[in-house]
């Protein structure tokens, strides 16, 4: 059986929620499909106060931002339908999707679809990296901040980007001993304020150092670290053993592109955006008409940009379906401006270059 819908949004993170709100405000009927038991995406496990602009709730804790966005959506009960615990397992070029929910598969067809599936954590290659006890940083956050369960008692963090630094701090808040933070590069990746906070709490940060192997039978009990030279080669003789009961890997995210690849939209590998991403026009529309994208799925960025992209795409998709928002032109301009504003500083350089590459601009800077 096929159920018809006006607008289907895949993913209920910040991008999906804001898109739903804007489309509903324009008058559109929306169905949000979310894989997890709860809405909110990555935000629901963030206990720290966010950076960003006031419009995107900077200085508010991540999980509180999620509440605000969910409240916004709940105001449109007659327009927005929500399916949680439901995974989109198939996306086809004729705007059909297959959904798996609690043992049952069902099919939907929509006039337009917005894919806002976010990102997945990268793995790191080393000996025995599949042992239980080796977790992604996001997984560790989910376990402690959402379910109140400790990932382990003594942990080593691999990767010193902002996520690695923030999650290390959150581990300590939960009472876990962070034995060391390893960074393969000669310099710390994230903001120095976060790193200093960890150092003050006595966490040693080893740069030019990586994990060589994990040791243990049924789960990790020890790791071996090794130093790297300027050519990123392991320096033999510098190996050290650290006793742990968990290892946290934080080496970046890549866009969750599988559904889009399945729909056979045109994709491109752009390193600056985190991996495989769909080609899009200024409307955030893929090579397949009426299939739109927003958030981390088109390049790893931030919740602030995901939210603005969500509003923008919700506005455009609703318009395409025939619901013209009373303030369409003003809002459209404002969201475009906010996005270029966000990406104008030095921290936005990577995204700027990535997006230019994606659009095929050769003189990307």
């Amino acid at each position: 059986m096929m159920t018809n819908k006006e607008l289907i949004i895949i993913g209920g993170g910040p991008a999906g929620l804001t898109a739903a709100k804007m489309a509903a405000e324009a008058g559109c009927q929306v169905l949000i499909i979310e894989r997890s038991p709860a809405l909110g995406g990555q935000l629901i496990k963030q206990t720290h106060k966010f950076f960003g602009s006031e419009l995107t709730y900077a200085k508010t804790r991540g999980f509180d931002i999620a509440k605000l966005l969910i409240d916004d959506v709940m105001k449109f009960k007659d327009k927005i339908e929500i399916m949680c615990d439901a995974t989109v397992v198939g996306l086809y070029p004729n705007h059909e999707i297959t959904v798996y929910q609690k043992g049952v598969y069902s099919k939907f067809k929509a006039t337009a679809i917005i894919t806002a599936t976010g990102a997945s954590e990268k793995f790191l290659a080393f000996e025995n990296n599949d042992l239980p006890g080796i977790y992604g940083a996001g997984a560790v956050q989910t376990l402690m901040n959402l379910y109140g369960v400790l990932p382990g008692q003594s942990i080593v963090m691999v990767g010193s980007g902002n996520i690695g630094l923030i999650v290390s701090y959150q581990l300590m808040q939960a009472g876990v001993k962070v034995k060391a933070l390893l960074e393969a590069a000669p310099k710390i990746g994230g903001y120095l304020v976060h790193a200093s906070k960890l150092r003050r709490l006595g966490v040693p940060i080893y740069t030019s150092t990586t994990i060589k192997k994990a040791i243990g039978k049924d789960f990790v009990e020890q790791i071996e670290t090794v130093e790297l030279n300027e050519k990123w080669e392991m320096v033999s003789g510098t190996e050290k053993l650290i006793d742990v009961d968990a290892v946290c890997i934080s080496v970046g995210l890549s866009p969750l592109h599988q559904l889009l690849s399945m729909a056979a939209v045109e994709m491109k590998f752009v390193n600056e955006l985190g991996g495989m991403v769909p080609l899009i026009n200024e409307n955030h529309e893929t090579s397949y008409p009426n299939l739109f994208v927003a958030g981390d799925v088109i390049g790893i960025e931030e919740a602030s940009s995901a939210m603005i992209e969500g509003y923008l795409v919700g506005l455009i998709a609703a318009n395409r379906i025939g619901y013209h928002h009373p303030h369409y032109e003003t809002l459209l301009q404002s969201y475009h401006d906010q996005l270029s504003n966000l990406r104008s500083g030095p921290f936005g350089a990577k995204t700027r270059i990535g997006l230019a590459k994606l659009r095929g601009e050769t003189h990307a800077r």
Binding site: R35, P132, I134, Y135, Y147, V149, Q173, G175, D218
Partner: protein, 100 residues
């Protein structure tokens, strides 16, 4: 192990949920996923890999990687990190591909 004291978050005591894992009885709490409940009980090895029978634990905890797949109430390949725990669930570690 569960978090007892936290400077920002509060975790209320919730309703207990009984379930079994490989025939043994365990207790989780309302709101737990199967995987968070097992982890809180100290179970790290969830299944074995298909070819080499290597131990498997969770990795992403948001349903992306399939590392936490187990057999639940006779249904194989259930993503236990995004499946909420229910009273009386029969959870088995999965050795091999799982039989439908």
């Amino acid at each position: 192990m569960r978090i007892e004291k936290h400077p920002i978050l509060t975790f209320e005591t919730k309703k207990k949920i009984n379930f079994t894992f490989d025939g043994q009885s365990f207790i989780g709490y309302e709101g737990d996923t199967i995987q968070s409940a097992l982890h809180a009980c100290g179970i790290k090895k969830l299944s074995e890999s298909i070819e080499h029978h290597r131990p498997r634990g969770f990795y992403c905890a948001i349903g992306n990687c399939a590392s936490c797949d187990m057999t639940v109430n006779n249904q194989p390949n259930v993503r236990t990190c995004i499946t909420l725990l229910e009273e009386g669930m029969v959870v088995l570690s999965q050795k091999g591909k799982g039989v439908l």
